[in-house]
């Protein structure tokens, strides 16, 4: 019965949201399911457990739903200081402690000229590169998620990877470098501006996110 249904449906005209925003019958699948998370800024009085501040907002798996979310949520430029958005593959918490991030790391770039940088556009383009799966080669499966941090002195955008280029898995290093180059391109950085990669473990041990960069592009 399912097969008959499917072939019948396929023979029917496929109407996209471009044909009919209110009557479309097909939508565009994403390669992965994604979850958007939000870190609330700590409140000045109590209740500042990290787990209370990190909120799961919504999970989606189509292009159309992504835009419904994006068009109805606060822009990065409207967020209070110490807020973060995290867009991660469903099932991965945006934390070093998640088992799937244990051996991973991240590429990141800090925009220190906050008023000069089109942060909303850059963050959108990074999210589109993540959900459109154009940050990495098909089989690498390194990307875990992307993040934007709103701080007093800077905006920072990062991309988290499953591995950190260490150990015996030599091929992962080239995958990571390729992701770094694509990331830099999406952020429209000049050749004299550098993205840095650091492993989560090193970041955790140094007690800050300013661990020594392992790779640079």
């Amino acid at each position: 019965a399912d097969e008959a249904g499917a072939s019948d449906a396929n023979s029917k005209e496929q109407l996209t949201v471009f044909h009919s925003p209110e009557n479309f019958n097909v939508k565009h699948p994403l390669m992965n399911k994604w979850t958007l998370w939000f870190t609330k800024p700590p409140s000045p009085k109590g209740e500042n457990n990290w787990n209370d501040l990190l909120k799961e907002v919504v999970t989606f798996d189509s292009v159309e739903e992504f835009w419904g979310i994006y068009n109805n949520i606060a822009k990065t430029s409207e967020l209070a200081l110490k807020s973060d958005y995290h867009l991660f593959k469903a099932g991965v918490r945006p934390e070093w402690e998640d088992p799937q991030n244990k051996n991973g790391g991240k590429w990141s770039y800090q925009f220190k000229e906050k008023r000069a940088v089109p942060i909303d556009e850059l963050w959108l383009h990074v999210m589109l590169a993540a959900i459109g799966e154009t940050l990495e080669a098909e089989d690498d499966k390194e990307i875990m998620g992307v993040v934007v941090n709103v701080r007093k002195a800077f905006f920072r955008i990062g991309v988290w990877t499953k591995s950190s280029g260490g150990g015996k898995t030599a091929p992962s290093r080239e995958s990571l470098m390729e992701i770094g180059r694509k990331f830099k391109e999406v952020l429209r950085l000049n050749t004299n501006e550098h993205c840095e990669f650091s492993g989560h473990t090193e970041s955790a041990h140094s007690g800050s996110t300013r661990a020594k960069a392992k790779f640079v592009v």
């Binding site: 925003p21 097909v26 939508k27 919504v58 835009w67 589109l128």
Partner: protein
């Protein structure tokens, strides 16, 4: 039986379409209206299954699907991100 006082509004036509639409199975089989850029075939050699999409293709949806993605979206926002200073109109119409 629980009676909710803040009953969410019924879903909009666009949201109903989003929830009931099927996933495209073969990206090559879709005839986009003229003026709409199709997904880059070089990115999707297999044409079926799941697809990669370039930025310029994805950006075309920005002004087209503007509806809130669930009936209780406002509640979700209150409980997570909070509300932006400037509240957007709820629909583009």
């Amino acid at each position: 039986l629980q009676i909710k006082t803040n009953e969410p509004a019924p879903p909009s036509a666009a949201l109903t379409a989003l929830k009931s639409a099927r996933f495209i199975e073969n990206i090559g089989s879709v005839n986009y209206p003229s003026g709409i850029l199709s997904p880059n075939p070089a990115l999707n050699p297999a044409a079926s299954g799941k697809f990669k999409y370039e930025k310029d293709f994805l950006l075309q949806f920005q002004g087209v699907f503007t509806e809130k993605p669930s009936v209780d979206w406002d509640k979700t926002m209150r409980e997570t991100v909070g509300e932006p200073e400037t509240t957007r109109p709820s629909t583009a119409r």
